[in-house]
């Protein structure tokens, strides 16, 4: 648009100066011609008068008065003219004065609404004043036509400028738009997207470096993911043996001495924690790579929470559902893990889960998880959602995996929800998870 404005300005300036110069030149030409003609006419009339003693009107007629104009002569105080209606009154007093004083002169005036040039020449001393009245209408028409053409071409040039500007800017911006949309696609979970190869030598560098940047980023992400998967695989195998072996041992706990049973309980307790840590860690790695929510389905929230409580070994009465049964849209396994982590957090850091309350808030459903611990200081209410936030304030064996709350927060936001921490009225901390209610 700026380009178009510039084009308009430049072409208008050019047109205006062309017009001024042309006008000046044409007028000048015309004026010179008219003055020359006037002298010729004056000489002719004078010659006629002096040689043949002809009368003035006849001499004037022979002098060929200009089209639409007139020749006017004042001789011995008497006025003669070749055109009716164009007489001495046409001639401005100033010009008359000048001629009478023996000097030639000219003036441009409006006569009957049209531009006219009047040239005066004295002859025979001051006995005769000779005036030539030349209409400039023709010149004016020419100038008007010229100005029309100039305005028109200025507009045309501006239009063409705008078009050119748009085309040029589109040509410049188009690859940038493509880069932007490609980057958005990649960020939106299509890491295989690349810029198409181009013939344009000016763009080859851009396309090449963009694509190689994405390539190396993707390799990095993939190697990270592979690393997480490999670590997971390597850790899962020994963990499988451990879990199953401890399970076998526990089947025989009655045959074991009390101290051995105690040891087995310790092992199985920490094994469960290790397992949860590994699960959360792998889950976190996958969450970082963008949660795969392709398995989303309608999930009845009450059932989900009841099963979550059951899995955590909690009684069902801890759930207070104040809704008429709400369905959310999501991945039930991921959501279970998120809520299980909240329950786990209440147990580990909040001296026990008090209640899970489900409330409907217009298009949202709030799951309120209360504990009766010391609560969370205001300044820590953001920090606790960071990874391994607990490890900095680790308190012996009660510390959790340090990933639970972070993972819960990430899972809920991937489901279009939120998670925040506040005070429970009275005592303890309150975690509120908001999730959009699925359309029925």
């Amino acid at each position: 648009m700026v380009f178009g404005g510039g084009a308009l300005l430049i072409s208008a300036t050019l047109a205006a100066s062309t017009f001024v110069i042309a006008r000046h030149y044409l007028l000048d030409q015309r004026q010179q011609a008219a003055i020359r003609q006037t002298y010729l006419d004056a000489d002719l009339v004078h010659a006629r008068l002096s040689s043949s003693g002809a009368r003035i009107p006849a001499a004037l007629d022979a002098a060929d008065p200009p089209q639409g104009g007139a020749l006017i002569v004042r001789r011995d105080g008497q006025w003669f003219t070749t055109a009716l209606g164009t007489g001495q009154e046409t001639i401005p007093a100033g010009l008359r004065q000048r001629i009478r004083s023996g000097r030639p002169g000219y003036v441009r005036v409006m006569v009957d609404g049209s531009p006219t040039m009047i040239i005066g020449v004295p002859s025979e001393g001051t006995r005769t004043e000779f005036y030539r009245v030349t209409p400039l209408t023709e010149l004016d028409d020419t100038l008007r036509a010229l100005s029309t053409v100039l305005v028109f071409s200025a507009c045309l040039a501006a239009g063409a400028g705008i078009m050119l500007g748009l085309w040029a800017s589109r040509k410049v911006v188009q690859p940038l738009n493509l880069v932007a949309s490609t980057a958005a696609e990649i960020a939106g979970g299509q890491p295989d997207t690349r810029l198409p190869a181009t013939e344009d030598p000016e763009l080859t560098t851009l396309v090449g470096s963009f694509n190689s940047m994405v390539d190396s980023l993707q390799q990095r992400v993939e190697s990270d993911a592979r690393f997480a998967a490999d670590v997971g695989h390597e850790l899962r195998s020994p963990l499988t043996t451990l879990v199953a072996s401890v399970e076998l041992l526990e089947q025989h706990r009655r045959e074991l001495p009390a101290r051995a049973v105690q040891a087995i309980d310790l092992v199985s307790g920490d094994l469960a924690r290790l397992q949860r840590l590994l699960d959360n860690l792998l889950h976190m790695a996958r969450t970082d790579a963008g949660l795969d929510l392709s398995d989303r389905a309608p999930v009845p929230l009450r059932e989900l929470l009841l099963h979550t409580l059951a899995r955590a070994g909690k009684p069902a009465r801890l759930l207070r559902d104040e809704t008429t049964g709400v369905t959310v849209h999501g991945d039930k396994v991921l959501l279970e893990r998120a809520f299980a982590n909240l329950v786990d957090n209440a147990d580990r850091h909040g001296e026990g889960l008090v209640a899970i309350t489900v409330q409907r808030d217009e298009d949202e459903v709030l799951v309120v998880v209360d504990d009766e611990g010391q609560g969370v200081p205001v300044e820590d209410r953001q920090r606790i959602f960071e990874r391994f936030a607990t490890s900095r304030t680790a308190r012996g064996s009660s510390s959790g995996t340090g990933l639970g709350l972070s993972l819960a927060e990430k899972t809920l936001s991937a489901h279009g929800g939120t998670l925040w921490c506040t005070d429970r009225p009275g005592r303890g901390a309150r975690f509120v998870a908001g999730l959009p209610v699925a359309a029925p």
Partner: protein, 254 residues
Amino acid sequence: MWASQRQATRGRLCHDGRMAARLLVVEDDDRIRTVLRLGLETEGYDVAEAACTEDALELFRANPPDLMIVDLMLGGLDGFACIREVRRTSDLPIIVVSARTDTHDIVAGLEAGADDYVTKPFQIKEISARLRALRRRTASLVTPGEQPAADLVLDSGPDRRLVLSPSRGTVRCGDEDLHLTLTEFNLLCELATAPGRVMSRQLLLERVWDQGFFGDERLVDVHIRRLRTKIERDPGAPRMVVTVRGLGYRLDPQ
């Protein structure tokens, strides 16, 4: 081999006097294989072990088991190849064990022909419960004295008469038996208990796989797909086993 395996009860005697089910464990990790054997022998199975696909197939041909547990990550031929090879001749229940929880691997394992999956680390009782669920219907089908369920005509077309016979454990197309796996057969029987009515994935998951709320509904979807390729005229445009969007599946006898 197909029909006879549904009633296979050879092998050593169990504690309660019944014949123990024979189980083949294919797993390349010695320790996991050993603990599986220990645990599942305690549960009353007659366990054979194989460390790779090649050994497993040899054992399988020499002495066909009743059930299989297959790890997907094996050296040499992987678990998918093992399952596909076994499925060419047998309908026995197969459980996949995977260290990966990727959607892709699990679905691929099921597509290859597995009936269920368990991710590592698992507990013996979890595997044992899955095995029991997969065998449950087999046992009930041959329970003597039970009122046999009536045959159901699935497709009455003259050129392609398809009959489900729950009591005999067969689906016949004309004069031929269709080769359905045990789970596919059970799934079809479950749908056939209420032809024309929608059954939710969750319900099918509970009835066929004996799994609770957190069961994986993809099990149902993959098995429905496999079932369709065997019984539908055009599996790409199924008319017998119909998907009811958002609700589940429905059996429409033609």
